[in-house]
């Protein structure tokens, strides 16, 4: 299907790196349909806060192997995801609009190693990955807005120099 996105012909796979930019619904909805995603985000954010996933201390415990808590959360979240995806495939479940649910394969590249290691360093420093950063701002930790702005800057610098980086 023809995509409205402009791909970068010279660069390394500008789109498939983010499967998010591949799965496009061809249905047109009014903007307020997006509020259903906001509701999912609200529940997700509350879960993050109440399970202390957004706590810098919990992340430090995890990386020092001092607590099972975070491993239990990630493990049971992945198990729930695997079962859900299996059920969706097995019973060919459609979206609420009747569109088929599709999955895009992720291709391996060296970025997953180099970028993964750099991300891990940042994760342990800030004690938060991108989701918790947003939730932390919501809980009133206003200074985390600086961390988020810096993460946006990091994303921009990656986008600017990605053709020079090994992939």
């Amino acid at each position: 299907m023809q995509s409205p996105f402009i791909d970068n012909p010279a660069g390394f796979e500008a789109r498939s790196q983010d499967t998010i930019c591949i799965n496009e619904s061809h249905l047109q909805h009014k903007w307020y349909h997006n509020f259903k995603y906001l509701m999912v985000g609200v529940l997700f954010g509350i879960g993050f806060v109440k399970a202390e996933v957004i706590s810098w201390f919990r992340i430090q415990e995890m990386f020092r192997l001092q607590s099972f808590h975070m491993y239990g959360i990630i493990g049971s979240a992945v198990a729930t995801g695997i079962i859900s995806v299996w059920l969706i495939r097995r019973f060919r479940i459609n979206t609420i609009y009747g569109e088929p649910i599709t999955f895009a394969p992720k291709k391996f590249n060296k970025g997953q190693v180099y970028g993964g290691l750099l991300f891990g360093l940042g994760w342990a420093l800030t004690g938060a990955c991108p989701g918790p950063l947003f939730a932390q701002v919501g809980t009133g930790a206003s200074v985390v807005a600086v961390v988020l702005a810096s993460a946006v800057a990091g994303t921009w610098v990656y986008g600017r120099f990605r053709d020079w980086l090994p992939h």
């Binding site: 996105f5 360093l121 921009w156």
Partner: protein
């Protein structure tokens, strides 16, 4: 009931709830769970410059910005109505280690002695907040996803590149928390 919800949630409640985000987004509109992509959408919408990586129709990804707006709102609601007044219970070994760096206030989810507007002006605060944030943004895009896109969505769909990314996330985290962070905190 409300008293129970105000307590910290155990992993076996929160984990499946977080995992259910995967089918919820798929069923609501064939959307793939991934949070760090929003950082890219913010770049594409606010300052794409002349960078091909940011030349795409971000308006089609607006659902994801609604999703993270929901996460922020969830944080507001949890802090306003469901907050646990007690300090976080952490492992005594971590308490002992952090005490050697002068960190002994466990009242917030974010350590108030490290993450504040005042400490932003110190070398330690600058490295942790600005440096850490930069690594999170740069690394997640370089890896093609973060803990949500790779470790939850990617592993849920049994993608081995996501397993590689997840192992590298953990390796980087172990390295930082055990070997580099102590040097930074000592300052």
């Amino acid at each position: 009931m409300l008293e129970l919800i105000k307590q910290p949630w155990p992993w076996y409640v929160a984990g499946p709830l977080i995992g259910l985000t995967v089918p919820a987004l798929l069923i609501l509109g064939n959307k793939q769970f991934g949070i760090s992509a929003n950082l890219r959408h913010i770049c594409a919408s606010c300052f794409p410059g002349n960078v091909p990586f940011f030349q795409y129709d971000y308006k089609r990804e607006i659902w994801n910005l609604f999703f993270v707006a929901g996460i922020v709102l969830g944080g507001v609601l949890a802090a306003s109505f469901l907050a646990n007044p007690a300090a976080i219970q952490v492992d005594p070994r971590l308490v002992e280690e952090l005490a050697t760096y002068g960190i002994n206030d466990f009242s917030g989810l974010v350590p108030v002695q490290l993450y504040s507007w005042d400490s932003l002006l110190t070398a330690r605060g600058l490295i942790m907040m600005v440096g850490g944030g930069f690594l999170v943004g740069f690394g997640s895009r370089y890896a093609g996803g973060c803990t949500s896109g790779h470790s939850i969505m990617g592993l849920s769909t049994l993608q081995w590149p996501s397993l590689v990314a997840t192992i590298c996330f953990m390796a980087g985290g172990f390295l930082m928390a055990n070997f580099i962070l102590p040097l930074i905190l000592n300052n």
